[in-house]
Symmetry: C2
Amino acid sequence: MSDSSRRPAGAAVLRQEVTGAIIEAALAELTDHGYARMSMDAVARRAGVGKAAIYRRWSSKEPLVLDLLTELADQAVPLPDTGTLYEDVAGFVRHTSALRADTRAMRILTDLTAEATRNPRLATAMHTTAELPRRAAATELLQRAVDRGELPADLDLDLATDCLIGLAYLRPRTPWQPSEPLDPGVLARLVEVILAALTACRG
Amino acid sequence: MSDSSRRPAGAAVLRQEVTGAIIEAALAELTDHGYARMSMDAVARRAGVGKAAIYRRWSSKEPLVLDLLTELADQAVPLPDTGTLYEDVAGFVRHTSALRADTRAMRILTDLTAEATRNPRLATAMHTTAELPRRAAATELLQRAVDRGELPADLDLDLATDCLIGLAYLRPRTPWQPSEPLDPGVLARLVEVILAALTACRG
DNA sequence: CTACAATGGAACGCAACCGTTCCGTCTCAT
DNA sequence: ATGAGACGGAACGGTTGCGTTCCATTGTAG
């Protein structure tokens, strides 16, 4: 492509290494200090990079952070399709629990959620990269169950999706509480409750 | 008391007026810019007050914000005891929905939640002033229903409390979405779902 | 009327941060 | 070998914020 003709291959490799170091350092700084207190000087220092190298890639702090968000989203693992509602829901809860146990992702998402209150671009990015895919996955999981007859045909898909997500997010209840590993017994009971709630989501 | 002998009564009244103006201004600044970007200069300017007047009352920014938190908590309205689980739950959902519709309170709580991730004192304050009372109210509501026989005697109170709070918080799903007023039909369906979930919370 | 305490306002020193610019070095493609 | 381009590092000017200090004003108590 045109890049390879305009930029030496070796430089491209080096550029990617530097870019990766910047992204990793920015993620770490964002985790430690939050969006408002994340300093470009600290990112450069942590990455072992000159500030110029950062500003050569991103025009300012905000675009950099927006890219970090997609970086986080790319790490999300797709949900398996197990064939039964019970196992699908259990997988969804485990998936959610794992996300909440990821201290770095949770700190960043909690922080950017607060920041999104005041920054429309960030709010849009959060919506499209974090909320929409998760919601779509939940809805698809439920639709499959409806198609199999495990859930009533007149299910209120929207409400059911809310319930599934809301209940899967139960523990830990607040971001500042460390997330203990999900006990299998607790998981089983939680799944039963979720199934009861879903069944009640009639249109 | 000793205060009245050491401080003129008129000065005390004036002090309270200034204190109130500072608190109101700090709440506004906190809402507009968040904890990290809330500046003491801006608070003083907004309150029409000298910075010295602030630092005469609080040693720094953090204690001031911690006091704001209790200020917010004092505005919380206690839940009524209606005598039926259905109405109690409906009241709880309405109560929660009203809180989420309060843009100022939501912005501040969302912001301080993120900040609490990195500030243990703030996390403790959030826990005792925001989480514990709400959780206690939910648990008490459920215990009354158990006593009346509306919920099974072997109810898992802890799990049920989580479910009640988690489901009541469903809409809006994210803090940056404006909260539309809760439609009565939606409320009724949501309450039905919550009751189904609660009934499934067996120990 | 006098003494006093709290006030608004302005300025201070200090530190941090942003985004830019410059330097000397290093690594490649030619 | 040579030139181009990205590099780390350091410094810059300008802004912002914190917490302190000073001062002239205000209003009350005695």
